[in-house]
Symmetry: C2
């Protein structure tokens, strides 16, 4: 709905590379172009963001840039969390390019996994707490931390985006399902929500530990693993030249062994200025049992050892 | 979602005059033009539909016409139900113009109020039962007859619209709220749904009788009332020259008396070839208590008597 409010066909949204692949599909369905900014363990590469913006300015495309989309907590697909310092520097950088753009450039902060933090580590404040919060569109959900079947979320939007999105929402659904909102409100009020989220966090933290041990045991040492302090995913990077893409031997062999991962290449924007890395994989421990996590990583490890031995 | 699948900006959707006003707002938000077809007690005026299509053909706009939207059961706002004969004739007529249009012209059958039939009267078969059903997009909902807070509906769509709408839905919500679908599925399986719908129908039938008696007692005889065999609405037409529009004395006086109706003019397309009637009103007995229905109609009747006496 925010994209419908901000963008015309042909507009540009900046995204992390890699980013949440469903978001790329939403952009594509609206004829919006995505441009990727390199992602590091603590958020986007700021000098790359500056390069991208500068290049777009030079090519005359800056007027089409409407927002930067970041999944700031335990990102899907990498598990990376954006530091507060990077959020702050990002807002400043976007602001610098607004004059040349001729309009606001928003920071769309998707905090879907924020509450799925494992025991260790502190919550990072949102971009809403920073100077420049007037350009922040923040979205949260109760689905991931509490009830995937309820699908209730929320947004915190600055004017004039708020009013426009509200109208668009009216035309999308003429109102959310009241029953679900009531259920969530009761759960939040009664403390049931917090209790359940604590349980869910423990569960995921345990599954993450199981997966970490299995990865250490079964994956070749040359595979780089991104570890996360929360969320649902590990991110693995194979040595250069070994493809894990949709058409790769690795992916096809994994499927034959009944193991599914998300090929990393699906998480990159179609970007004329960069080729997509195809040697990465998102590995999820969200819904699998501990036993299946162990067995799945064992099988995937065998596939990788074979590919690397070639 | 169907409109997103079928239409580009500037396309044309034919609608009943009057039609469901929220649908007009959806069209407007997508930059789609609406063209009205006169509505009679048993559905649209077929010769007017032919006139409208012929005129659009002559003006070279037929290629922009993508569908005709009909609320076929106990229509919002008039309560009118489209006869099977008119559905059949409508499908034939649309088919005749397809060659000149250069693409399919769909019949979008919104059956939201279908189950809210009072005791008397038979259910009319849908356009899906007719030859030409390959051009019918049928939508239903469980909200109106069963649970307004659940907001679960469904569509029956022909290919290739089905596949496209499915993709669009994925990009809108990435899946419906499973919990609500489960609730509805259990209610349907267990018979609870049918039991509750029967109760809801009786309730609305009783409220409709209460309103009908109140209208007979309090409304001036010169006001034409459309009576319905189901749904949630009466439709009232004041004598020519007496406005019931948003800015009218009648509407303002009604509001002052704490009575709200939907001004009929809101239910007509912005149509350069027709001026909107402003002497009509949708009166709902859906959520008001019997006592409030009696009192509301009494107050509205007083407002109308005063307006007519001038």
């Amino acid at each position: 709905m925010t994209l419908e409010a901000l963008c015309d066909e042909g507009d540009i949204i900046l995204v992390e590379g890699p980013t949440y692949f469903v978001f790329l599909s939403i952009l594509q369905s609206r004829g919006i172009k995505a441009r990727g900014v390199k992602l590091e363990h603590d958020g986007i590469d700021l000098s790359h963001l500056e390069n991208v913006l500068t290049r777009l300015k030079k090519s005359g495309e800056l007027s089409r840039v409407k927002a930067l989309y970041l999944v700031t907590y335990f990102q899907n697909p990498t598990g990376a969390t954006t530091s507060l310092a990077k959020k702050s520097a990002t807002l400043k950088l976007l602001k610098q390019f607004e004059r040349a753009a001729g309009h606001p450039i928003y920071l769309l902060e998707d905090a879907a996994y924020r509450e799925l933090r494992f025991d260790h580590g502190e919550d990072v404040p949102t971009a809403l707490t920073l100077p420049g919060a007037g350009r922040v569109i923040y979205t949260g959900t109760y689905s991931k931390p509490y009830a995937p079947g309820a699908r209730v979320g929320f947004g915190i939007l600055p004017e004039p985006v708020f009013t426009v999105v509200q109208r668009i929402k009216g035309n999308h659904d003429f109102g959310s399902a009241n029953l679900l909102q009531q259920l969530l409100a009761r759960a939040l009020e009664s403390g049931l929500y917090d209790k359940h989220v604590a349980k869910v966090r423990k569960n995921y933290a345990r599954k993450a530990r199981v997966m970490k041990l299995a990865l250490a045991e079964h994956f070749p040492a040359s595979v780089e693993i991104w570890e996360s302090g929360g969320g649902l995913y590990f991110w693995a990077r194979l040595p250069d030249g070994i493809s894990a893409g949709v058409k790769s031997k690795v992916f096809q062999s994994a499927l034959k062994a009944d193991v599914l991962y998300v090929p990393g290449e699906l998480c990159y924007a179609d970007d004329p200025s960069r080729t997509k890395p195809d040697n990465e994989m998102r590995i999820s421990f969200g819904s699998a049992s501990e036993e299946n996590i162990r067995e799945g990583i064992k099988r995937l490890g065998a596939v990788l050892r074979k590919a690397l031995a070639r």
